[in-house]
Symmetry: C2
């Protein structure tokens, strides 16, 4: 055991540099920037470790897969993604997003936490375990790095269906993980699903002078009226039948939520807010993760530059994402959204689906969960926490069901990584602890 | 008389080229692009005609003034502006906005109609009248070209107050004019006022992952809720006391509106719409110009690029313009807007005034109106139409009251100039007719 920890401590700088090289390569799936280049870097990193690696095309970004056999036929799958969120707004970054920069024990870059840091920590863990076993692995590994997670993984479900043999495994460690506000490790046991749509309305064939504003139809007003029918100010979704199939949290899940530490104050400070939506707090705030959301991720219409322009916009669009809870089906909700808009008189509002994912769940009693708990308590010397559901979404569902495996997470994150936002970063100490945790799970997976 | 018309017909090409040179110089007041350069070009055009010309600084863009004395002490003032609207969206222009281009009897460029073409047509008229009088002018002229009309003329009222002597005159021709859908000349007798504000709300100190969308406050939703309280779907403004001082149209004004031709079908075709707001048509549609508007000129929040980004926007803003009818005061309405938002629980929504103008009116019985009518019927050989109020706004009020003069318009426009929109243009035949109309007014103004 000590050989693993010693190796990782002594070689930390080497892995940070590997991570910096990976982060210096932009890989923005939303606009297909640097995707091929980054996939090639990931394949090289796999091959460098003796894995059999392939870049496998999909209808979108390619998936990079690397396999390496171990003494035991049992195989652990690692899911990561090499794509990142767009870095905008650029002016809010202290240092440029694709020039990794270290300050006060932290490493800053777009993707350094979500998700390139996770990937490199796992490669470091792999190296450490082999080092401790004279170059051998006690179990097999398969690394999967996709390139479209940040655009809702539109092709991963089909990819898994088509490559079940290649991905054959006995458990999976998901992309993220790390410590909570108390420094405790843990795992998510589930994810919400997502339905991401763009609503567009075009009221005229061109923009017009706003002197005719009570005569000619304004697309911004029209879209605003349509959006206002989707959700009440109390966050309740007003689309008929939307929550029809939703499964509420079980008593066991509520008990797990109740055991989690109260991080209200930290979250309020991080986001500079006085109160959460609907004045939620404590357990009630955590239980809100078992509710649906209807989020405006972007709204664009008319003149947005400096100064004034007196124009009636003829087109307006909004990006809207709905989070789904267990048992909801994104395509069912999409149909209900369309029907609702039609019934409300907004059949002129176009709805385009930009992405979707199903929700997913893992049992707290699963042997892999229990192994991660033992290893986590040993590495972090803190209680291990199980979070019944994440607010976010992931394509975990697309692996768990067809491969018949359990999915947990373990990694290098903390509560203020600023993923999807300017100044994304990791704490270097978290990187080391996360790599150790992964290494100990990998070291014992053959017997789990 | 014939000497004037002959001169303008024979020298048309020279003036079109002068106009093209002026349009090739961007002069976007919204972002202070090319303003100084364009002011210098206008001053040179004045001096070239022997005027005493000055570029006079203001708190914003400078005003260019040129004076030339005539045989009579009576002086006619021409108001124009050398600034233009921003050209975006650029991809909708057939040819680049600042590379003037002629196609099928039309001249395309940003500003070619609004308002550089008007200015050059007046300079051509001036040249023609002098040519017909052996270099003399029958009356004096003062040309005023401001550089902030497209950003609501924030400094022109104070400028006029401070330069009454320089602007001393006995009547004014305003910036625009031309023919209606029947090819008839006419004048506007009034303008609506305007209050242009930017509403901004900031719900957090940074953007957040949309997995927390029913927990963390979304600025786009917040602003949308605030905007929805301003106006009903029936266009009625919901701000208490907003219409308290508004003066409805007089029977004489309604009679003038009723005499105007029915251009509903043309306007529907131009904007590619099936119906006007509230199914207005005919006289009812024209009477709507005597109502207030509340227009969203722009709305911006969150991610607006291609693809998806799952983010909760922490800031959102909207540009909103209200059109005012006679007797309303923009600052009174601004205070009512602020009070309304506070009362509705939106004291977190910031309101910034970006510009404002008072409404204004001229009597249909004014001698200058009657002169323009006689000259118009002669040049166009069509009935002359008086439009009681424009949907748009203008700083005419800032000249009429302090200088004690009447203000009319006469110019080169037609119903499809696409001002403020892509592919702005003029018909070259309108340019010639408008210049002739102005020349005949100028020629007879000494005796009016």
């Amino acid at each position: 055991m000590n050989a693993i920890d010693t190796y990782l401590t002594e070689n930390l700088e080497k892995y940070l540099q590997e991570l910096e090289r990976l982060c210096a390569q932009p890989s923005i799936s939303a606009r297909q920037e640097g995707i091929q280049e980054c996939a090639a870097l990931v394949k090289a990193a796999f091959e460098q470790r003796g894995m059999t690696a392939q870049i496998i095309p999909t209808a979108g970004s390619p998936v990079v897969v690397g396999r390496l056999a171990g003494r035991s036929p049992r195989t652990l799958l690692f899911y990561n993604h090499y794509d990142v969120q767009p870095p905008e707004p650029l002016e809010l970054w202290t240092t440029p997003p694709f020039q990794p920069s270290r300050r006060e024990g932290k490493l800053y870059a777009r993707g350094v936490s979500d998700d390139k840091g996770e990937l490199v920590a796992r490669l470091a863990a792999l190296d450490a375990v082999r080092h401790a076993h004279n170059g051998e692995l006690p179990c097999g590994v398969v690394f999967v790095a996709e390139g479209e997670e940040e655009v809702a993984s539109p092709n991963i479900a089909q990819f898994v269906q088509e490559h079940k043999e290649l991905l054959h495994s006995h458990g999976a460690i998901w992309e993220s993980g790390g410590v909570d506000t108390d420094g405790c490790p843990g795992t998510l046991l589930g994810y919400r699903g997502i339905l991401y749509v763009e609503l567009t309305v075009e009221t005229m064939s061109r923009d017009a002078h706003s002197g005719q504003a009570n005569i000619l139809p304004n697309a911004a007003w029209r879209l605003l009226r349509a959006l206002a029918t989707l959700k009440g100010p109390d966050e309740r979704i007003l689309i008929p039948g939307f929550t029809e199939h939703a499964v509420p949290p079980t008593p066991q899940e509520i008990a797990l939520l109740a055991e989690l530490p109260d991080d209200d104050e930290v979250a309020r400070r991080v986001y500079g807010i006085q109160a959460f939506v609907n004045n939620l707090s404590g357990l009630e705030r955590r239980k809100a993760l078992f509710n649906n959301t209807c989020n405006i991720a972007g709204f664009t219409a008319g003149y947005q530059g400096p100064g004034v322009k007196t124009v009636i916009p003829h087109v307006a669009s909004a990006k809207v994402d709905f989070r789904l809870v267990p048992n909801q089906d994104p395509d069912d909700l999409l149909a209900k959204l369309r029907r609702h808009l039609d019934e409300q008189g907004f059949s002129d509002v176009r709805v385009e689906k930009l992405g979707s994912m199903f929700p997913s769940k893992t049992s707290p009693d699963d042997p892999l969960v229990q192994l991660a708990k033992r290893a986590g308590e040993q590495v972090y010397q803190k209680p291990y926490r199980m979070i019944p559901i994440s607010g976010g979404s992931s394509p975990a569902y697309a692996f768990a069901r067809p491969l018949g495996i359990s999915v947990i997470d373990a990694g290098i994150g903390y509560w203020d990584n600023r993923v999807h936002a300017p100044d994304e970063h990791i704490r270097i100490s978290d990187f080391l602890l996360g790599a150790r945790h992964i290494a100990h799970i990998l070291n014992q997976f053959a017997e789990a």
